[in-house]
Amino acid sequence: MTQAEKELRFQEKIDREIKIEPNDWMPDEYRQTLVRQISQHAHSEVVGMLPEGNWITRAPNLRRKAVLLAKVQDEAGHGLYLYSAVETLGTSREQTIDDLHSGKAKYSSIFNYPALTWADIGTIGWLVDGAAIMNQVALCRTSYGPYARAMVKICKEESFHQRQGYESLIKLCNGTPQQKAMAQDAMNRFWWPALMMFGPSDAESTHSDQSIKWKIKRFTNDELRQSFVDATVPQAEILGLTIPDSNLKWNEERGHYDFSEIDWNEFWQVVKGNGPCNKERLAARVKAKEEGAWVREAASAFAKKRAMKKSA
């Protein structure tokens, strides 16, 4: 079969909604796109633990602490499901992680913003996990089998992440004026970065068309961003929080909310590594790997020793 015939057959499978599995033939570019996208997604789950993990010891009570711990533990699991999915594409785990540490691979820019107050933790659950869910629900039907399966599992676990954040904000917004102000301040800082989580606008997005054709993505960045805004505005109203955008208003004709243009300059600055926490986040990951090396080596040595004893 020629290359062109293989590609044709591949596209036919995609068009008929047949999932692609690890050993199936696939175009190199399909494989590369998946490796890039899934590893970026995996890194986001793992780096995403840092701003929240930082608040576990400072949670205001035992209930919130247990909840936050459970959420952060889930994110570690999400990272693992996704690293496993990347591995099915023939890239080693070690390589994938090294690519993050060398700065070659990216992760979601949202985690380059600091979590300064307790209200940020609620806001992250509500807006950041909320935006992530919007993306991930769409990815449950992605064309690559292992990625789709990981997404289904992740989506099941994510729903509590957003709810616990919203619940925490409800408490703050119905609390003292200071608590309410703290929630509004968190909203002001996280709203725009949350909208940026959907990536560049469709006009700027380089991989979008092909990804849609291969059904890696089902919706464009702008479509998902719009769905997120539409879903979130009424939730903000219930909290009594103001969305920091004077152009935000319901457009009867479109049946959607209109909102201002994102500050793309800020977006690209953070992507390029110049956000408030880029260096700190990467340094934390590198340190974790280096300082954990002896544990991995010891576990390997122990396993070897035990295997030898068994065979003796």
Binding site: E87, A150, K289, R296, R306
Partner: protein, 95 residues
């Protein structure tokens, strides 16, 4: 950079008594004991299982995807193995 790569394990979980163990994913671990403990932490955080199997991925043998058509051909052509192949008169019951 550490170069030690732990082996890959496939994880199978029985969600409740009476059901098969089902493949849920994979993970890396230095040995079976830790593979089981990691599988518990990663795949059963919400009571998804009552029993876990882990198998080193290297020990799994699989059919060849490129030969699938000829490999499974014998069953594809034998439609008389299905009950719908047979015609019975309308009045016949319990069959």
């Amino acid at each position: 950079m550490s170069t030690i790569e732990w082996p890959l394990w496939e994880v199978f979980i029985r969600s409740k008594q009476g059901l098969n163990h089902k493949h849920v994913g994979s993970l890396r671990a230095p040995d079976a004991t830790l593979a089981l403990e990691n599988a518990r932490d990663v795949y059963t955080r919400r009571s998804e299982g009552i029993s876990i199997w882990v198998v080193e991925s290297a020990h799994i043998h699989a059919t060849d995807i490129d030969d699938a058509a000829s490999f499974f051909e014998p069953s594809d052509t034998k439609i008389y193995r299905h009950p719908t192949f047979y015609e019975v008169p309308d009045g016949v019951k319990h069959m």
